[in-house]
Subunit: 363 residues, 4 copies
């Protein structure tokens, strides 16, 4: 499946950082879903670099819908979005082409593509490709919202600063995040941004932890074994460069819990089955239980730092130092949030279409 | 794909805890791979309950190969293994059928299967199904070993007791684990077992963290985006009940790191490219870099505890308390280790067959 | 996908002719569908050799359901059916092991499996494997029937004798066929059987053409491009050994038609859109149009004939003659009909579950 | 999978006839394969309408490669080709929007997409989408040729005129076809074109039969059961609008053969196993046997004819007559040949990559 994910609703990504364009094909989404270009642009702007925490590269995200939309609604045919590249400084990258940037994909791409890969700006490995995911996911978000399902992601931790986690009543928190450029729930944005700026000043970068919540998910979606909700979401988010871990509900904290603390007691509330706690993160046995689906992801520090690093020249096969110039994000935690939100929306549309049929999301 | 995983090498699981049998179909494995039934039985015995840390249910794992093996070698046709069930006490479960066990799949199964699901002993959600995964994976382990690739899993943490983590030179550690009933690297087994026994005595259960390492993986396997090694491994392991988190390399610890600490410097060693550290867990850009592939998984405490719990009767739609009798593991960290090792072996065989062709693992 | 077909409802086949058993895993079928073992046995008996037109091998089809059924209904978990092999005369095959039977898979299996394949009785290539397909498909047929969809297959042509084709009102024809051992619509069974017997007497075999009709299919199922109904049905039926061609509606006769003859005029009938003719075979643009889905399949003469044939010894790499003894069908057209009917039912359940959700076939 | 086909090499199609563009994403092709834009343009020109047998619509096929190519070679990343639409006369179609054109997908699209589908010019159902398939397939053809595998398609029969079929030594025939605008082997082109022109003059259209041969295919590619070469090729070609039947080798002629005529005797020739005849069309048991893979396809007469036809208004639900104006091909047999050749090349690249690994087609 390589660059395609999904079963009933499928997303295919393409493009390289310094090629003509990046883009996506979103196939299988129900017909009749409104496609609001301003709304899509809004999500793209959340992913775009801005301010002191991001790369100085000025990305424009003028996207063009090539197929699949008629009179402002999905037609049911594959929906293709192309986002042309611009502001490309290829020369930033030229000189270090054969020296592998540590913890980047330069060396592994060489092992796989034998030198034919496009290396400018990361090529197809570039985070630039996620712009297409955001555009496709924004359309899916709208479709989900019409069924009462909303998704949000915030920075839970960065540079030692912690945000408030999602509570079980996460709807207002998700709504709050929709309006924010720097996605945090509590009043910790400035402190985080200061930490990121400090790392940048030191020629260094920062990692962090981000958290996603899905509210309104009906119970009974997902599968035991290989199509567990945890499994399909994980496979999707690990596509995003920099994500190196995922945990659902209490996740790694389960490691120091007893069952009596960890179990989520069931109760009836207004005729619905709910759980008193949500340590399970909304999923039991791979299937949604109707509580918010909540998961945290570990984001590694941006590997592109300006400090001198030890590496190898993978063509000559000898040790070589490297200093990465270019313009890079000192932390991607902010920009990765809309990507995860949007990719999650794609995965959920797929799961819902599988469970309830291809028309379930249609108006 | 539901109960099937893989692209070139595919594994399908079937069976219920209290039905006639559990089993697997392993399809696409290269022809000519030796199938050593004693070796398979050895792996099944590692998964079997034993001693004071596990359920008192005496599982026999007399497996039978129904197809795909000829003269002690794989024939290239689908390999089917059936493991009959025995020692089933259905009465243990009968009385609580409509009261959802907290953090079990009882309620979500009801939402999905509307009462037609087999509820005895967890039915198809039972960990019993993993016996088939172990049997199939044991055959894959042998195939990998013939290509110099070995896999091991140990309990990194349980009940506050920590094991030594895998080092970059993990081959002797993996070899050490192969001979152990209680899979730990350092001399911490007794302390962990004592913690588990204490939880059992309290009518409670324990979670933990387990760690897997793959040594000998060639560089250049896996894909950027949706077939990343992290993604395909995650999707697989989240099939295993109780696993609620996964992290590769430094994982969530990246959240408090700077890039200068996190990056793995490349160096030439004896003509090969290696990294000085392995924070990346052997994967860059979704593709193996030739270092050990290392990942940790969070295991929740067994939800079946004998303490009284609050729940609901999901047929009557009313609150109801529950006391779970039956025989249950107070911690599954020990038994889950061979399951993860074997399932990882299946995933790796699939990735290698995709990359190098269906004959690559053949003799 | 190899031995697995389907997206939402998936069928996996396994087993070898002379191994312990053949069987299937049917995954994803809705919960609550009645599983009537006598009905399944009835379909298996239609596939079984009998009378003068078939092999003398006495196949017993005592099947056993290993999983996925509870209280006589599907549970929603993978449904596994095992059919043990018996009456195996391995010695029939021993002597000619390295001489490729013309138009059999002996040589291609060697090219693929390098000698590790199970060669007794055709191994995994044997028509014996279709017994499992029939058992699984019989369950699907029942599920479809509850939604008003019925499927039937008959011998359209064999040995120069022609049956009446399905008419647009094919429901009574399909019902008629359900009760027949030798599946023909008109009174041509004896003439066909006589032709088959004559071929057998000559140490030879016969091919033929079979025809399938699906009545009651709702309009709007299938996809343009790669999931066309024609495409998914074709992929499935070409799995059946001996089928070498498929045509939908007028098929190859379109080659000598003009558009004005070929087009199916639409009309309203009792509030429903119908077509006056059904040259399209119920499918336009890959999607069902509500008319019967009708397709013909070419069946090659059984390659196992007792006449002496020219061949090669593929181990020694030299020319060699071959005389095939064993017991073989002089024509498989009769026995292949229930296989196609049942496999079509599996494919339709998959398409309907994709289109309308996994519960659509549930009671 | 809908608009995506393949396992290791995957093709995704998108676009509508009167939208901004049609195109494809070709993913998984080996890195380093030369991409010769003039060669691609040559194949596109073979698909383009020309002369008296085709639509008067002047299609330009100025394609643009958006990703996946670097320095004139595949990079290993998804290769995206966009072909903008031009010369669109939407008004040709406007007036008959709610009256279903007989044997077109108008009514089935309505049943599936509920009125949201793009109906102009057939929308996503248009043959225009095949331009992308041709462009992608042309690149695959070059990759195959470098491994000694070539593919060709010709019109076997149209308007009562028959071409010479492929012989077992089909390499010179395939080479001959490469240079022809009207793809026939014998000197029958003018006679066929005259028949097509006559049908056009009568306001009518013609069907036909086309034939494809693949020379140089190594033995041992394909699978028994659901990934048979016949099955995967069929699924692909039924995506092409107008194809309603496929047969391999002798196909439907098997229906009147005896086994002794039908079987292909094996012989050693210059150290290779060959068959004396090729009734099997190069495939035994789903797996290539090293002989040419040969298959015929039935092509229905173009449903768009200018004669008055009976139909329904599917919005008002009433009978209505229709006269189709627009500009249409009176026969698509000529233009469909390069589409089948190119799509077959994609399928073969996928099968070869699965069998021998992703690098097998690399230089």
């Amino acid at each position: 499946m390589k660059n395609t994910i999904g079963t009933s609703v499928q997303l295919t990504v393409f493009g390289e950082s310094h090629g003509p364009a990046v883009g996506v094909v979103l196939d299988g989404l129900a017909p009749g879903i409104p496609v609001d270009e301003a709304y899509v642009a809004g999500w793209l702007s959340r992913r775009r670099p801005c301010g002191r925490t991001d790369t100085a590269r000025a990305e424009k995200d003028d996207f063009r819908i090539l197929s699949g939309v008629r009179d402002g609604r999905t037609s049911g045919s594959p929906l293709t979005i192309v986002i042309p590249n611009s502001d490309v400084h290829a020369s930033d990258y030229a000189e270090l082409e054969n020296i592998a940037r540590p913890s980047h994909a330069d060396f592994t791409a060489q092992a796989k593509y034998h030198g034919f890969q496009d290396r400018s700006g990361g090529g197809h490995f570039s985070g630039r490709v996620t712009a297409g995911i955001v555009a496709a996911g924004a359309i899916c978000l709208k479709a989900l919202e019409a069924r009462g399902i909303i998704v949000g992601t915030h920075i839970l931790k960065c540079g030692g600063v912690c945000d408030a986690p999602f509570s079980d009543d996460c709807v207002p928190q998700i709504r709050l995040l929709e309006g924010k450029t720097f996605p945090v729930i509590a009043d910790v944005g400035e402190a985080m941004e200061a930490e990121i700026a400090a790392a940048r000043a030191a020629g260094d970068s920062l990692g962090g932890i981000i958290q996603t919540a899905v509210a309104g998910m009906p119970a009974g979606v997902g599968e035991p074994w290989f199509d567990s909700l945890e499994g399909v979401i994980s496979r999707a988010v690990f596509a995003i460069g920099g994500i190196k871990g995922i945990e659902f509900g209490s996740g790694f904290a389960f490691g120091i819990m007893r069952g009596s603390e960890a179990n989520d007691a069931f109760r009836m509330r207004e005729g619905r089955v709910v759980t008193e706690t949500n340590n399970s993160g909304g999923v039991n046995g791979g299937i949604s239980n109707g509580m918010p689906v909540v998961f945290n992801m570990a984001v590694r520090p941006t590997p592109s730092i300006s400090l001198r690093q030890r590496s190898v020249d993978f063509v000559r096969g000898e040790d070589a130092d490297i200093e990465i110039r270019g313009r890079h994000d000192p932390a991607i935690v902010r920009r990765i949030c809309p990507v995860v939100t949007c990719l999650t929306a794609v995965v959920l549309c797929d799961q819902l279409a599988l469970r309830f049929g291809t028309d379930w999301l249609a108006p």
